[in-house]
């Protein structure tokens, strides 16, 4: 759907992940949090798709749902030609080796009572029939690959710094030779000087093992560095998806424009000259999204139609997708018709 020559490794169609809200004495279902609300994208083999957005926009939930760490509400997920979306959890096990995850907090995602060797080895124990010696050798190779000294194999996670712990998490994700890795804010908990080390490592490994990444982050500068294409999420939906250069040079969606202009520039001259679009107010609750476009409550360019009709997520230029009425080629008459239709329906 994006570029016919490039083969999508992962394709996600209209993915929804709603979490029920229970309240009252009988714990009745009173509503739902629409964490991910109809998301469609492909990840091309060998690329890094950056998924950006602010906290609560559903980017992490989206990453976890794609790997079926949740039972999704609806939608299709295909990874490497296999239908992941509708398989039962217990049958998913055999498919896990091709898809892995690197978590945000290396402190919380490593078992503090297991040695580094045991942590990296666990996937091998679960999914392979290698002998003990082979496993030990494989763990050694993985530690080399992520830049950890093999001599530290018997140590526990607390003996390592944050950056090194993240390397352990990456080694564990690589153990089963996956094709697709979801990196959920892998550098958010690290110091600036350590972030670059981990990002360079992820890039090296991608080249070495032909990996495909879904890179979830709120750091727009870092995503510009690592991603091939970038998807921007707001309140459970992708508002824009485009190749990296195009997105950063000329963002189409007003939210992307505001988000990029809010990123502080590490250059005082630029910072002084910059015209910032400061959004007013806060993100609405995903349990109670506004009518029409989700961004209509804060959009500086909001129009009448935006408060009534949710804009369709469509390819507005070759390879560039956006969900915004500003980039809709409907004629004014058609717009009026749609508004009337919505009014009669509502």
């Amino acid at each position: 759907m994006l570029d016919n020559s490039a083969k999508p490794l992962v394709s996600v169609r209209d993915l929804k992940m709603h979490f029920p809200i229970h309240a009252g004495f009988l714990r009745r279902r009173v509503g739902e949090v629409r964490a991910v609300d109809g998301v469609t994208f492909d990840v091309i083999e060998g690329e890094t798709l950056g998924l950006v957005g602010e906290s609560g926009c559903g980017k992490s939930t989206c990453g976890r749902a794609v790997l079926r760490l949740y039972d999704i509400t609806s939608g299709q997920i295909m990874i490497d030609g296999r239908d992941i979306g509708s398989v039962k959890q217990r049958n998913l096990r055999t498919m896990r080796p091709i898809m892995q995850m690197v978590f945000q907090d290396p402190q919380a995602s490593l078992n503090s009572r297991m040695t580094v060797e045991a942590i990296i080895r666990e996937p091998l124990d679960e999914h392979t029939t290698l002998s003990d010696a082979e496993k030990r050798e494989k763990v050694g190779e993985l530690m080399d690959a992520v830049g950890l000294n093999r001599r530290f194999a018997k140590r526990y996670p607390h003996a390592f710094s944050g950056g090194q712990r993240q390397r352990i998490g990456i080694a564990r994700a690589l153990a089963l030779n996956p094709k697709f890795i979801v990196c959920d804010e892998p550098i958010a908990a690290l110091d600036v000087s350590i972030q670059a080390q981990v990002v360079n490592l992820l890039e090296d490994l991608q080249e070495q093992f032909g990996l495909t990444y879904l890179f979830i982050s709120h750091d727009l500068s870092m995503v510009r560095h690592i991603a091939t294409r970038v998807a921007v999420m707001y309140l459970g939906k992708i508002v824009e998806l485009a190749p990296r250069e195009a997105l950063y040079a000329a963002p189409l969606h007003p939210y992307t424009q505001a988000l990029l202009s809010a990123v502080p520039d590490p250059d005082p001259e630029m910072a002084a000259a910059k015209q910032r679009i400061v959004l007013q107010g806060d993100v609405p609750s995903p349990a109670n999204p506004p009518d029409g476009c989700n961004f209509c409550t804060r959009c500086p360019q909001v129009m009448d139609i935006c408060r009534r009709i949710d804009p369709e997520y469509r390819e507005v230029q070759p390879g560039r997708w956006a969900a915004c009425h500003l980039h809709n080629d409907m004629s004014p008459a058609e717009v009026a018709d749609e508004i009337n239709a919505a009014q009669t329906a509502g």
Partner: protein
Amino acid sequence: MPDRAQPILDVQGLKTVFQTRGGEVHAVNNVSFDLAPGELLGVVGESGSGKSVTMMSLLGLLPSPPADVRDGTVMFQGRDLLKLDLRELRRVRGGEVGFVFQDPMTSLNPVFNVGMQIMEPLRKHMGMSKKAAAARAQELLELVGIPDAKQRLLDYPHQFSGGMRQRVMIAIALACDPKVLIADEPTTALDVTIQAQILELMKDLRDKLGMAVIWITHDLGVIAGIADRVIVMYGGQVVEHAPVRELFANPAHPYTRALLKTIPKIHGAREKRLTIIEGQPPILNAHPTACPFLDRCDVAMPVCARKNPQRFEVNAHHDAACFHADPLEVAHAG
């Protein structure tokens, strides 16, 4: 440029040590800086560089033991804050010096409404009546841009979003018209669009109220947009100090230079590969006898292992703790 001849706050030779089971940790080591009235001083550093501990030491906010502020003077309005007793210090804290912390959720009390929390310093420090304090609290909420202020005074912290909570924190810090406001990573926990709102608000308030601000952050982008002058901290020491434009245009310390190179840019040419700073920050378990950046420095010299460099003048407004900035060493090497 604010007048630096008459600093409102003058810190000299501050040294803070923590006693731990593993021995002493030299968290702040011979830190000196000053702050002019109305100036916004940025303090940059990574975690463990000593930036927060420095500011907590100024106001005696560290529990002792394990903390021990061992040396230094903190002159504020003709008094040394390190010599004040607890009663006098309390009058300074939250009164003449306001403090905004990083995490607005844990620094607000969840069982009192925000009105009570804004009124507390007004009643304690200014001796206002309940009625006057309530009126002033409403003014303050309006000042920090919270709509429907009168109603919101009765709300509890959990009823506010993260950005709004940080506005409440700023309102509390501003309550007694502080001469100095210390903001410790006030926007780190916030999203970029909310951070942009708070940065605009702070610049606005500084211009309106004319207080001096110390802004602690690890984000060089934030510093570039808001600070007049910057000190860079590493390993418990000030390694570089310069006006903001000078620092970004001509960084003199290898750490500052490396730090500026490691962060990817949102504009301009994209680096094919990120520059990295090899290694880890130093462990501060002994009084440093060498340059703290020695192991990670790409231009280290033999002298850097023998002595901890003092701050050498680069020009009248700019200094760096690096032997490459020492005229003697430069002459010697040349």
